[in-house]
Symmetry: none
Subunit: 278 residues, 2 copies
């Protein structure tokens, strides 16, 4: 399968020139394959970028999620969090460049929704880390601001080694940001971002999700899949969508079945947010 090769080479080119400025021809030349071969691995250029985003962001977000979930002691968690983030960015700097360059791009609807989804996933992890670190009560008022500040630190300091090839002392950087975060968490008294404001930002995404749209995509997906656990899960989830019968646990389990399969990953997200919503 040429998929791996194409993705690797495409990442290099996208990082250097941007997604839109890189043609499929260029990618295939860089791989030493023909243009037709590209379309054997990917349905379109858009599908390629989405698979790239997925490949890295699933790794990235699950690494952070695992870090936060499995943390016992407080102080090290924050350090490990920053270290892991910047370490990942440094290791996959080409992908990092793509992420920053194209993050607010609007060329493809699926792409935007995807990016927003991973952004939310990060927000969730950071928020639960903040609650874990400082106690739910202590930072109740300013925890959303804290999430924003942490993300601000991440994005600003990431740009340092993404756009200037300077070797950085990740240990010092993490320590420095741990101190800053602690300072803000323990001494801030003027919150700006309230729960209500946060909810306002989350609204638009879910708003667009109608049962019909999901059903449409669901049918389409079921059609394309061969017999498998994934397909069974989708069929059951379709039943649940039309007529709620299962409990929370079963739904969660079914979603888990399809979350790691590349073809159903996305529908898992859609269904997940739809069931959450209700």
């Amino acid at each position: 399968m040429k998929k791996q090769l194409i993705m690797e080479k495409a990442i290099e080119l996208f990082a250097k020139q941007g997604f839109e400025a890189t043609s499929v021809q260029q990618i295939t030349e860089h791989c030493g394959i023909s243009k037709g071969a590209f379309y054997l691995s990917f349905k379109s250029k858009d599908e390629l970028i989405i698979e790239i985003i997925d490949h890295f962001m699933i790794q990235f977000t699950s690494e952070i999620d695992h870090l936060v979930r499995s943390a016992k002691d407080g102080e090290n968690l924050l350090y490990n969090f920053y270290y892991a983030i910047f370490n990942s960015f440094q290791k996959h700097s080409d992908f990092g460049k793509i992420l920053i360059k194209e993050q607010s791009r609007s060329f493809n609807e699926d792409f935007i929704v995807k990016m927003r989804y991973y952004d939310r996933l990060m927000d969730k992890s950071i928020l639960s880390m903040v609650e874990h670190l400082y106690g739910d009560d202590e930072v109740k008022e300013i925890k959303y601001d804290l999430v924003f500040c942490i993300k601000g630190f991440m994005s600003m300091y990431s740009q340092l080694f993404l756009f200037y090839n300077v070797p950085l002392d990740l240990d010092l950087l993490s320590k420095s940001l741990v101190e800053k975060t602690n300072l803000l968490a323990r001494n801030s008294t003027v919150p700006f971002i309230s729960k209500g404001l946060i909810m306002a930002f989350e609204e638009p995404v879910l708003e667009d999700l109608t049962k019909e749209q999901i059903l449409l995509r669901l049918d389409q997906e079921i059609e394309e899949l061969e017999e498998s656990v994934e397909k069974e899960s989708l069929v059951l989830l379709k039943q649940q969508l039309n007529e709620p019968t299962f409990g929370r646990a079963i739904i969660k389990g079914l979603l888990e079945n399809i979350r790691n399969h590349p073809q159903t990953k996305w529908i898992a997200y859609l269904l997940g947010s739809f069931f959450d919503q209700k």
Copy 2:
């Protein structure tokens, strides 16, 4: 003159679709003029985006610069700074969107240089504000980090009202960020960004480094250092640069001597890549 009209309509479209995804045809249709008329006002599509960037950034940076320069009292300065920034972003939200979307774009060399120039201008203003606010000595060590944090706050909180049309309380936002900035300025003890690092970012791209540029910086560094192993190493490396005499091992050792000193870390890197290159 149709220039004004074209710029206004183009900003709307660029904000919505991005620069590359918007065609000249679309712009002229949106203006109700012919395609030819566009080229009476602008030599090219690139010239249009550069004029747009200039038009707003000149206003923006000079407003901030004036604010910082003419400030008498400390506390209000920071508040006014944040308020002015967010107020501008809110007033010209379409331009703000373009700025964020295209900031790290690489389609046009002139464009990148322009953006970098205005970025540096902002950095300068913020830095002189920080020095003014907290005293040159008090924050000597962490002032560059502070600049980064302030920019991080700006970019994160700007996205709030750029991408979700939520009416925001600029007064509260500014107060909240003033508190956060003060907390960091007065209590941070672990700097990450050193003078040397900052200078690294201002450096042209590494590949273009000439011997003369390195020598210039080397002299400067030797001047500033007191007698030490580091200084001796630098002097020897300067000799080596002018007239290669030492072997590989000695150079490596000398570089190692200066690699861990904060003030010479950067020059170590520069020299390292220069010697590697040959």
